[in-house]
């Protein structure tokens, strides 16, 4: 029997092996923003409720690094994230909020219940800012440096062990 007869079998075994390996790999459903390293695009959002200031890209370019938190009152992980945003704020981080598809009364109720860590909150009814900075869900948090350049993206809710990491990213962006 010629050795050539075995070639298709080996090719098949290789294919099965590759497929089996890929099946055991954890699935990564996160869509990374390509805007990390780029300047914030132009935007101007009205305040998300009475008594807060709105957000524009110009709110960022004053030399101080900030966190830009994309969230919504209807988003359940945002509730889990709230205490960690509070602790980031206590440790000196300035957090700017963008509320996605949200009503002022819902925003006010959420903040009354879970605390308000934000220095400003913009109202993004059409996900315009979210799309412009390459974010694909809520919550997401971006580190913006003092010249308005996006330095880091955190996808999903912030957990306790993400707090020091984000503080370090803020320090790096200084």
């Amino acid at each position: 029997m010629s050795w050539r007869l075995w070639v298709p079998l080996f090719a098949f075994a290789l294919f099965v092996g590759l497929a089996a390996y890929q099946l055991t790999q954890p699935k990564d459903e996160f869509v990374q923003s390509r805007m990390v390293g780029e300047e914030l695009p132009y935007f101007e959002l009205p305040p998300a409720m009475d008594g807060v200031e709105g957000v524009s890209n110009a709110s960022f370019a004053d030399g101080q690094p900030r966190l830009l938190n994309i969230w919504a009152s209807w988003c359940l992980p945002c509730i889990a994230e709230a205490p960690h945003l509070e602790s980031l704020k206590e440790q000196g981080a300035e957090i700017v909020g963008v509320a996605i598809r949200d009503r002022p009364e819902d925003v006010a109720r959420f903040l009354a219940q879970h605390g308000n860590p934000y220095s400003r909150i913009g109202r993004d009814d059409l996900s315009e800012v979210q799309l412009a900075i390459g974010s694909s869900g809520v919550p997401e948090t971006f580190v913006i440096d003092g010249s308005g350049v996006i330095r880091h993206q955190h996808i999903g809710d912030i957990r306790a062990d993400d707090v020091p990491r984000l503080l370090a990213e803020l320090e790096k962006a200084r």
């Binding site: 923003s33 390509r34 805007m35 209807w74 009503r103 009814d125 059409l126 799309l131 869900g137």
Partner: protein, 135 residues
Amino acid sequence: MIRPLVVSFILMLAFPLAAQQSMPPAPYAYRQLDDPVQEAAAQDLMETLRCLKCQSQSIADSDAPMAGDMRHQVRIRIAAGESPDQIRGWLTQRYGDYVSYKPVVSATTWPLFAIPILLLALAGGVLLGRYRRRA
């Protein structure tokens, strides 16, 4: 008898989604453009853009609010005179090729296009060899 049925029906309702939709959809999420040529161009483009929330659907197929917001962007940009390729470029600049369903030949995807041609050529070669041997 009726009560468990009612309770299970209520449990079936997706409340977080309902909350997301307490806001009206974006103006052009479900409204077509007045110009049929522009609307056709927008529709073609929307069918080849991935919904980021529901990753196996195009934004034309998805009822996720974010897909509606993306359709709104596509339609107002087409109406403002942008070309479909410009809009696709705007999105891939933000989300990478992942957001587009339109296949492109690139540094990572060229084997997908090259391998079938290679295999066809190989099969042709083998067949030709066999015919010659028989003749």
